[in-house]
Every structure is written in structure tokens, then in C-alpha cells.
Symmetry: C2
Subunit: 481 residues, 2 copies
């Protein structure tokens, strides 16, 4: 593999350049031929598969069923819900020809599937007995992207989109919160991210939603990444598409619907939550390789022992990989796997073998001594490494939560606010005015990320204009991806 060195721009020097270096050099991604499109290479795709398997299990365990809806639908579908089409029109890809002929009505490529699924729900739901209808789809969606960035903003991305219909608003709100909780659990337990679940301010709502909830995750440059959103639609889409049911009384009632999505953007979130100057750091739960074994020396014995060790680890459910590339030096391999974020590295040379041990190195440590290399007995390796990986996962989650807390400031004055959003998040009271929000954005590039669910009721003057606060709580402001 031809490479112009393994070094990546230090994170502290230029975060954006570091991010680009890492995603390309770790072979996670490649630019596609169309503006903003990406190829997800095996090392990136495996992370998605691991996230996907976990999330899919949680979605199914809460009673949702997967289905698949068409990629293309008539443009007129989008127009049935006024806010929805207004929000998505500028991002649509349009198909005008098929089978060598011009189509009678142009088709759009789905930017999201509320409309086509709404059409189907109207067909499938008749009685209150058909409710709740709990559907989920794993799919690609396309949205024209002016400022593309690998994983974070691409013209095509992969995601799941949950779509549900309920008899009452209360049921639909409960579903919206259930999905949000699933997302937060995946982000924290699997992604080891530092998140805050909350509600979006009205202006940041999904196009067509009555209420939008989000999990906002703090990246290592102090910015916020919207990592998953869950929307309560009220009866808006039900009205637009005629999604009604016959209640027990016999009267026709409008359903209340929800939708919620999590995407390949999460991969970008993982990278920016954990990475450091040396490159990626991957949580074991989503690491394509959790343990890489580097045999030392040209002899057969370490190679054979490495293969045997890997087989033993794999039996214990550990994703272990032997780097047996003959043309590369151990030093090159150490740097390579460090850059690619493998949690634990094992070295296995003739001297280790003679002692019945391997030398273990952790990709990073936090809140404990550096450790350096540690000899571990080969016989006990599966059990020891299972414990090490669990500890590594917990350590990353703690590190991310600490980082989030250390970079979140409760502020009541403008100078405090400006200082806080320069390096992280500000928890402030705000008037809710759009002009005031615009001014804050112009001065600091920060915007309201969410109203944290956990916040205490509070009233007072707006941090910028001094007007009476809205929302009844403090709002998180931050610079966003």
C-alpha cells in the first residue's frame, strides 16, 4: 500500500485537517465521483455494521418491524405537507428519464421517507386494532450538499428511519421519547460518546414536525454534533396523507405519527469524540479489530503463535487480527494500528514466546498511569483481554463525559457566554427571539443546540438581549457540525 507517511496533522493544530487525514489514511472512506458523495471502505463500513447490529437489536426489542419502501416517488408527494417540502426542496435529486424515455411526472430520490410511508400507512391502517404501527427502514437517502464533509454531510448517506403511527398524541410522544432513549443508549453505551438529550428550539425542528428531540454529542474541538433525532409529527402528516383509524366508538380519527433517524454521520461522531494527535481511537464495541497481534521477527514460531493466539481470542468473541504483512517492519505496523485506532496491540516475539507471554499496549489511558507495555500470559489472554476491552470501553465513555462536562459552562453574562462557546458549550437563558439568535450566531457562530431534558425549570433575563427568557429552562448553545 503506497502511503505518503502515516503522520496525520495534529488535532490540536488543525482539527478539520486532522479529521480529513484520519478518515482517508485509515482507509475508512474515499471520495465518490459526484459532488459530496463518498465510498465507505471496509474499515469504515465495519464500524457501521457493528453500530447497525446493535441499534437494530434495540429497535426490534421494542416491537418495531423492518420494512423497505421505494427509493423513488412522485415529486407531488413532497408537496402535500407545506413545511416538509419547503425544508427539503433545495436538497432534492430529480429523476426525469427512465428506460430511455422522459417520465410523465418527475420522480424524486428520497431525502427521507415520511411521504411515501405516509401513503402506505393510510392504506394499511383501518381500525384502532392496527395501532400502533411500528415500522423501521434501513436505507440510503440523498440530499444535495453544498458543503460536503465525509460522514458528516454527504449527498448520500445510510441510515435507519423509524416511522410510527399511534391512536393518541400521548402514545406518539411516548414513542418519540423511546426512540430518543434508544439513540442515547447506543451513543453512550456503544459509541462511548458524551451526549446531552434534549428538545430542539422551534427554528431547529425537522421540516414538518411539531416537536423535535435530539441527542447532541460533544466533539473534541468543543463543537456539537447532532447524533440522532426523534420527531413528533402530531397529526400533520396524518392530515396530509389521510392516515385515519376507526376508533372504538366507530368514528374516524386522525393518527399521530413519529419519525426518528440515526445515520452514518455517527461514524464521524465517533472519530471526533475519541481521536487524538496520533489518529483514530475506536471504542471496542465498534472497532473492526479490537486486538491486533504483531508477530516480531522473521521466524515461523511467532507467526504460528500469533495465529493460534488470534484463534483463541476469536473463540472468546474478541475481534482479533494478526498483522502478518511480510514487507512491513514492526515499527511501521505499530504506528499504522495506532493511527487506525485499535484499542489493544499485542507484540509477540521469540523472547515473549519463550516466556509464554505477549506484550500488551493500550491505545490510550485516561485517569490512570501511562502503563506502557505490559507482559500478559498467553494462556490467560482471552479472559484478560475481554476484561481489558470492557475497561477500555468504560474508560472512553468516562473520558468523553468528563470532556463534555469540563467544556460546558453555566453562564449568565455575555462575556462568559462568548468565552464558553469559543471552547465548548454554554448553558444559558435565552429570549427565544430569532433576531437575537441571529446576532449571537453572527458574533460567535454558536446556535441553540437543544433544551436539555434534564434541565431544571428556570426563568430570567436573556444572556444576550436581557429580554425575558423563553422555554422555561436553560438552552445549550454551541458551535455545530
Amino acid at each position: 500500500m503506497a502511503r505518503d507517511g502515516l503522520g496525520v496533522t495534529p488535532q490540536s493544530e488543525d482539527f478539520a485537517a486532522w479529521y480529513n487525514d484520519v478518515v482517508f489514511r485509515a482507509e475508512m472512506v474515499e471520495r465518490g465521483p459526484v459532488r459530496g458523495s463518498m465510498v465507505i471502505r471496509p474499515y469504515g463500513y465495519r464500524i457501521w455494521e457493528l453500530l447497525q447490529a446493535d441499534l437494530d437489536g434495540r429497535i426490534k426489542a421494542t416491537g418495531h418491524q423492518n420494512a423497505y419502501f421505494p427509493l423513488l416517488f412522485p415529486q407531488s408527494y413532497m408537496e402535500r405537507e407545506a413545511e416538509h417540502v419547503e425544508g427539503f426542496a433545495p436538497e432534492l435529486f430529480t429523476v426525469t428519464h427512465a428506460g430511455g424515455k422522459e417520465l410523465e411526472e418527475p420522480l424524486v430520490i428520497r431525502p427521507t421517507s415520511e411521504t411515501i410511508i405516509g401513503m402506505m400507512m393510510a392504506k394499511w391502517i383501518n381500525s384502532h386494532r392496527d395501532l400502533p404501527l411500528l415500522l423501521n427502514q434501513w436505507a440510503n437517502v440523498l440530499r444535495w450538499e453544498m458543503r460536503p464533509r465525509m460522514f458528516l454531510r454527504t449527498s448520500e448517506f445510510l441510515w435507519q428511519e423509524g416511522h410510527t403511527a399511534h391512536a393518541t398524541a400521548d402514545d406518539a410522544i411516548a414513542e418519540t421519547m423511546l426512540a430518543l432513549g434508544i439513540y442515547n443508549d447506543v451513543a453512550v453505551q456503544i459509541g462511548a460518546m458524551g451526549t446531552v438529550p434534549g428538545e430542539k428550539t422551534p427554528r431547529e425542528r425537522f421540516a414538518g414536525a411539531e416537536r423535535t428531540f435530539t441527542i447532541e454529542a460533544m466533539m473534541r474541538d468543543g463543537r456539537a454534533l447532532q447524533a440522532g433525532t426523534s420527531h413528533f409529527m402530531g397529526t400533520r402528516f396524518a392530515s396530509a396523507f389521510g392516515i385515519t383509524y376507526t376508533g372504538e366508538s366507530g368514528a374516524a380519527e386522525l393518527c399521530h405519527t413519529t419519525s426518528w433517524g440515526m445515520s452514518t454521520r455517527m461514524i464521524g461522531g465517533l472519530i471526533m469524540t475519541h481521536g487524538d494527535d496520533k489518529g483514530l481511537v475506536l471504542p471496542p464495541a465498534v472497532a473492526p479489530y479490537q486486538v491486533v497481534i504483531v508477530p516480531i521477527g522473521r521466524a515461523e514460531a511467532p507467526l504460528d503463535a500469533a495465529a493460534e493466539l488470534a484463534a483463541g481470542l476469536q473463540l472468546a468473541g474478541i475481534r482479533a487480527h494478526v498483522d502478518d504483512r511480510p514487507q512491513l517492519s514492526p515499527g511501521f505496523k505499530f504506528n499504522d494500528w495506532e493511527m487506525r485506532g485499535v484499542p489493544i496491540r499485542l507484540e509477540l516475539g521469540p523472547r515473549d514466546l519463550a516466556a509464554g507471554t505477549a506484550l500488551m499496549s493500550r491505545r490510550l489511558t485516561y485517569g490512570q498511569a501511562e502503563g506502557g507495555k505490559e507482559a500478559i500470559p498467553l494462556e490467560a489472554a482471552p479472559g484478560l483481554l475481554t476484561a481489558e476491552l470492557a475497561a477500555f470501553q468504560a474508560m472512553l465513555a468516562r473520558r468523553a463525559a468528563d470532556f463534555r462536562d469540563e467544556h460546558t459552562a453555566v453562564v449568565d453574562t455575555w462575556p462568559e457566554f462568548a468565552a464558553a462557546v469559543a471552547v465548548g458549550w454554554a448553558l444559558a437563558l435565552h429570549c427565544g427571539g430569532e433576531a437575537c439568535e441571529d446576532e449571537i450566531k453572527a458574533l460567535t457562530t454558536a446556535s441553540p443546540r437543544c433544551i436539555p431534558l434534564a434541565g431544571e425549570p428556570e426563568q430570567g433575563p436573556c444572556v444576550r438581549c436581557g429580554g425575558p427568557s423563553a422555554y422555561g429552562k436553560r438552552v445549550i448553545f454551541g458551535r455545530a457540525y
Copy 2:
């Protein structure tokens, strides 16, 4: 759920009407808004997920890695390989506008991904050390369809497409055969289908392939369904896209590539392999519900016992489902699940409960006494049903293989040929001439399906024109989907 009766057109009366009745009434599928598009409903999609999980495991176990490539690419990519574009041009969907503007170059929606993946392979492969490159993608593809049919021919379908590059032709041929073997194993072991692996005649090759291999499965109307194909591309795509490597000698060499695909068409194949007059019959390996429990009577006890039984079966890895719909009679439920192809049904009423048993019925029997209902002890249910399901799976595979054999005739005369293809397949010698093939098709609607791999070398006169036989073996002719 409003339904106009559960009855389906008898298979023996009108196979096509039976198929349509079954796919819609079993809630596997719904027509999409665009010509030839389909919605795959949960009961159909779950079958796909189960097939997919098995196939994905086999693909990974043989060293392939999953990746994801863009849906859209410039139309000019398709034009680089002359036969490829000629074959696919009439089926392309074209995107002309995005983000509210006309695109400089029209984009096509992938009908298959040889071209975009070829572009990337050319970028990623440098040295012989980068070979073989073994990639797989799970994706949607679009092909304009003039005669759509749910699952079998739809304008959008889901599939996996393997794409690999190798140093030598021998390596690439071995890969082509490896993929074919995986497909045959999935079709037979998981789908319980009656297949014949073979090579396509030149005219039936994939557009751009040097050799195409296929597994042909016999449906219950005697027609052939192409259930998976594997293509050896030689150096055609490597030449078109510049996929080269530096050999050990230092010279630049062209790679040899392959591609292979299996799709949601398999769901149609399963339906038409096993179904009968009463509806679907699903092999346990892909059945969304392997066992359905119908509690009898309005009392709480059978309901509670059914839930407990289902939990015990689920613990044993059985996909068990309790039909507790209060508004429906047991008789309706029996018919419903029979139509939906559930392998085993259990009835649980107060008298069964008192005896500590449940009444078991198999969806069908083959080569054994009808059996009828059988009381099984609740305590032993998990073990007994695990064995029953394995036996049911094996029985279906035997039934399909027997059906294929009983409907395949070795023929040497034209009357024999015509009689054979009217009800199944003919194994005949053929001259390989296109005019002769066209004549056979005009007279019988049968076409060459494949040259079976297992066939013995044989020469002689063409079954139609008497000219010297081609291919060195007998060819399977049949009517095809």
C-alpha cells in the same frame, strides 16, 4: 384487518394468479407508486433479513469485506465497457437535476456497480500484495422494468453484489466458482430449493462478462428461476477502468475481475418452490415465525400458558409467535397462518392445558403419513419442536429436489423435448445456433437455462435441427421467469 376472505386462487388453476394472491394477502408486499416498484412489508422483509444474515456470514467467512459505493455515478462510466452499456442502457434511470439546478453531466442510478467499483479498484490496487481484493456490497439497484412482477422483476430491488480482483485468470475463475457454490448452498440449505448449478450459454451472459455461471431453480409450475449468478469478467473491466498491479517482476499487469449477485428475487423463488393451494409454505430457516401458538377459548389460562410456551421456545432459539388477536376465531387464525406458510402450528386450549400438552399440526407432509394433529407434552416442547423444524426443513428440500428430478427429462427427439418443456425441463443436445434457439423459443417459449456443471461430456445431433451439438454437454432448456 379488513380482508376479502383468506382464500387464494388454487395454484393448479392459475399459477400467476395464485402467486399474486399469496404475496399480497400474506402481507409480504405492496405495490409502490412508480411502475414496477414495490414496498417490502415486514412479513416479506423478515425473510430477506434471514436470508441476508446467512449469506452475509458465508461471504465474510470466505474472506470478503463489505463496503458501500455511491448510488449515482456519471453516465459516461457505463460507456467504458461496450457490451455493458449496450446491455444496461435500456434500463437506466437518469438524474438530471439536483439542488434545484440542472446537472452538468446526467447521473445514472446504479443498475449494478461494476463501473463505479472498477474506478475505485483502479485507485486502490497498486501491487500484487493488494490482491486478491475481495469486496461485497449490500444495496438497492434500479432497472426499468417493462413487465414487472413482485419480487421477480421490479424496477428497484435489494441485493448483494460481490466484486473481486485477482492476479490471474485461474484465481478469478476459482472465485467465480466459489461464489456460485455459496449461492447454491444458500438456495439448497436455507431456501430448501431444487437447483442446478451451471454455465450460461454465450447469449445469456451478463453484459460484459466472459463467462456467466448461474444456479437455476425449478418452480412448482415447472419453470426455471435464475436464483443467483456469478460472472468471470476476464480483463474486460480491468482494461476499461485501468485496474492494474505491479507484479513481482515489476511489470504492470491487468487484473482479472469477477462479480456475483443474489437478490430479493430469491423471496419469489422460495414462494414458488414450496407454496401450495392453501398459500405459502416457508422453510423454517427463513420463516419469520417458525411456530405459531393459537390459544383456544376466552379464558386467561390458555393465553398465559401460550405466552409462557412461546418464551420457552424463544429461549431455545425458535421464532415463536402467539396469535392473541381477541377479535378473530381460532378457525380464522388456523387458515390465516396456513396461508402465510408457518411451518408448525400449536393449539392450546383448556383441555390441552389440563393434560399438559399442546396440539401440533405441520403445514404439510411429504413422503409420510398425513399425521393430522398430534399432542405433544409442553415440558418437552422446545426440544421436540427444534427437531420437528429441522425435519420440516429437510423434508422441504427433499420435496423440491424430487420435484426437480421428476420434472427433468433427458430427451433426444423433438416431440420428447416439447413434452418435457411443457411441464418442466429438458436436458438436450443443442447446436448452439441462435436461429435454432429462436425457433425453439417461438415454438415452446423455452430457452437454454444453463449447461449443468455436473453433466457428462457428450456429442450428437441437435434436438431441433440435427446439426452437430455445441458445448460438449447437454443443455437444460426450460421456460423461465
